[in-house]
Amino acid sequence: MPIPPKKQCSYTPQEAMLAADSVSKRGPWVLKAQIQSGARQSGYFLEKKAERISGVQIVRKRSEIATVAEQMLGNTLVTIQTGPQGKKVNKIYVEAFQKVKKNFYLGLTVNRITAELVLLIADVPDGNIIKVALNHPEDILHLPLCAGDSVSSAQIQNIMNFLKLPHRSAHHLEKLVNGLHRAFLDLDATMIEINPVGVSLSGELCALDAKISLDDNALFRHQDIAVLRDDSDLGERELQAKRYKFTYQEFDGAVGCIVNGDGLALSAMDLLKEHGSGAACFINVKGGVDKDKIANGIKLIMTNPRVEGIMLNILGGFVRCNLIADGIVAAASEAGLNVPMVIRFEGTNKDMAREILNNSHLPIVWSNTQDEAVEKLLKLIKEAA
């Protein structure tokens, strides 16, 4: 797949200057914040000193390279995909600006209804595919691809007509689409978006930027990619949670929640909101749980200064409640329990779990439903304040 020939990664403004010189003698250059998110061009920085730039910046004067690099590096870029807390920029990409006649969007993903690969193509003069998706979804061409075969010439012609590309671009397009298709399968991707593809004056195509999402479930087949995993934009508690192998997410409320499913997490957030409160963090222990894992989870939650109370809601099918109870007792005896805790157990071995905790004499409040758990915990938090 054709990509810009000259580019370099930089970690400091000085490096960015050197990189700019080495990729091109003359401007303009393009500086791109490297975070794990798309939509960087329409993103913004949280810090005031960088409020006038986005995550992808075209710089015309050499003297401005260091300034723009300094505004990006170390600061927090917020995009529609990062959530309001944004992601810290630790490195930037410096490229020579490619003069193009036209830009378009080319994506490849899976249609979840038909279970086929689908190419998505759209004309996006300003690079903002989201705007097109929201306001004019009919302007996006959807082309199903057969997983095994290469793209047909009829499909290439279809895309050529749709984008009104010059005739001389046809074989470039075929090469690009087939390359994208092969990359998707070879990498076990879930989505690849090339945004934009640039069309040069001579009709050649070039992938000017891209976002690739890989399938975590297939990473075991790609040890070479797995070692590239970059956790530098995770917080300390998130990193620790990863080590314990559970999902951990932080929000700006006061309740620490432990649940065993995404659905429960979502409905707990809805309930907390309904009662005028919110979650400080979530631990989703999903299926595989043992005593140590749960103990570590509770200890982790208690290091979050926002947490004023803990709600544990487990509906055990795969999860066995008694193991969770053992973990709670272990955490409390190792680290103490300094905030109110409301527990709701249902399902596999719940009676055993209740007995374990009742025998521990920990100050635990029981609840029969999630609604009740939320109400009881918020009342306890209020009383403790």
């Binding site: 959530g83 996006i140 659905g263 957030m269």
Partner: protein
């Protein structure tokens, strides 16, 4: 009456000798499920939990007349297990496996196309017809025989809905977890259609998810049906900030950009009864009677 499985459905278990499989198969047998055999390559001829074990699914089906399989095989083995089920022309396969690679699911979906096999899952608690048959990992003590069909993409919220229905003195005809992976076997349409044709099912509870177009597609279909049961629908995620990804495999262009409210509006416009809280389900159900 029920859908897909009942007390007479002969079930075979692929991967029966595993730890989790043994635990859950034993529970299912105690529950009354007619599990007739297990399949584990190279363990054919032995007995496990009192059941004969076969090397291949085909053998097990030929010897026992099994009609359905519940698979406790790891994600990486799933496509081979499903190939066996398709080749043995089994009507129903249930997979609880988590973390199945997307490319494997693409292969699996291609295998299932035009085959006799319907897949429930993966990454689901399975299917249960209360007091008759349990294929999967459902908690046992929350279900009650009754007339409400439950179909859900969220495991834990399925349990919540079932609990609420049981505690309200109602019960379930059959409960089915579809799973919330990027690609799933059966979808809402196939299950609601089955409930529409099941005489014992009086109403359907449908629990959707934030990501993926499955709910909207089901709504479009439901709107066009003439003879249909009432559907009470719930989707969690009101409090999720716009554009925030909770960890669901999202859709490309709609990832995070479709709000829960958009989904709820689509379901309501199709004539489904949309509730904002799981507890409202039982209130609506009792008013339906």
């Amino acid at each position: 009456m029920s859908v897909f499985v009942n007390k007479d459905t002969k079930v075979v278990c692929q991967g029966i000798t595993g730890n989790q499989a043994s635990f859950h198969v034993k529970n299912s047998l105690d529950y009354g499920t007619k599990i007739v055999a297990g399949v584990v390559p190279e363990k054919g001829g032995s007995l496990h939990l009192g059941l004969p074990v076969f090397n291949t699914l085909r053998e097990a089906v030929e010897q026992t007349g099994a009609e359905a399989t519940v698979m406790y095989v790891p994600a990486a083995q799933l496509k081979y297990a499903i190939r066996e089920a398709v080749e043995a022309e089994l009507g129903l396969a249930v997979s609880i496996a988590a973390d199945v690679p997307l490319s494997d699911m693409l292969e699996i979906k291609a295998m299932l196309r035009g085959s006799k096999t319907k897949l429930i899952g993966p990454n689901t608690p399975g299917i249960i017809t209360p007091e008759e048959a349990r294929l999967g990992i459902f908690p046992i003590d929350i279900h009650k025989k009754g007339h409400i069909g439950v179909v859900s993409r969220s495991s834990t919220l399925t349990y919540e809905a079932v609990l609420a229905i049981s505690r309200a003195g109602l019960g379930q005809s059959t409960v089915i977890g579809l799973g919330d992976d990027m690609l799933i076997g059966m979808d809402f349409i196939e299950v609601i259609d089955a409930f529409n044709h099941d005489r014992s099912t009086k109403a359907v509870v449908m629990i959707g998810q934030l990501s993926g177009p499955f709910e909207e597609v089901a709504a479009d279909w439901y709107k066009q049906q003439i003879n249909k049961k009432p559907v009470i629908a719930f989707i969690a995620g009101n409090a999720v900030p716009f554009g925030h990804n909770m960890g669901y495999a999202g859709d490309v262009l709609t990832n995070g950009y479709v709000s829960v409210q958009d989904k709820k509006d689509a379901l309501a416009a199709a004539g489904m009864i949309v509730v904002d809280n799981l507890n409202e389900i039982t209130r609506v159900l009792s008013e339906l009677k």
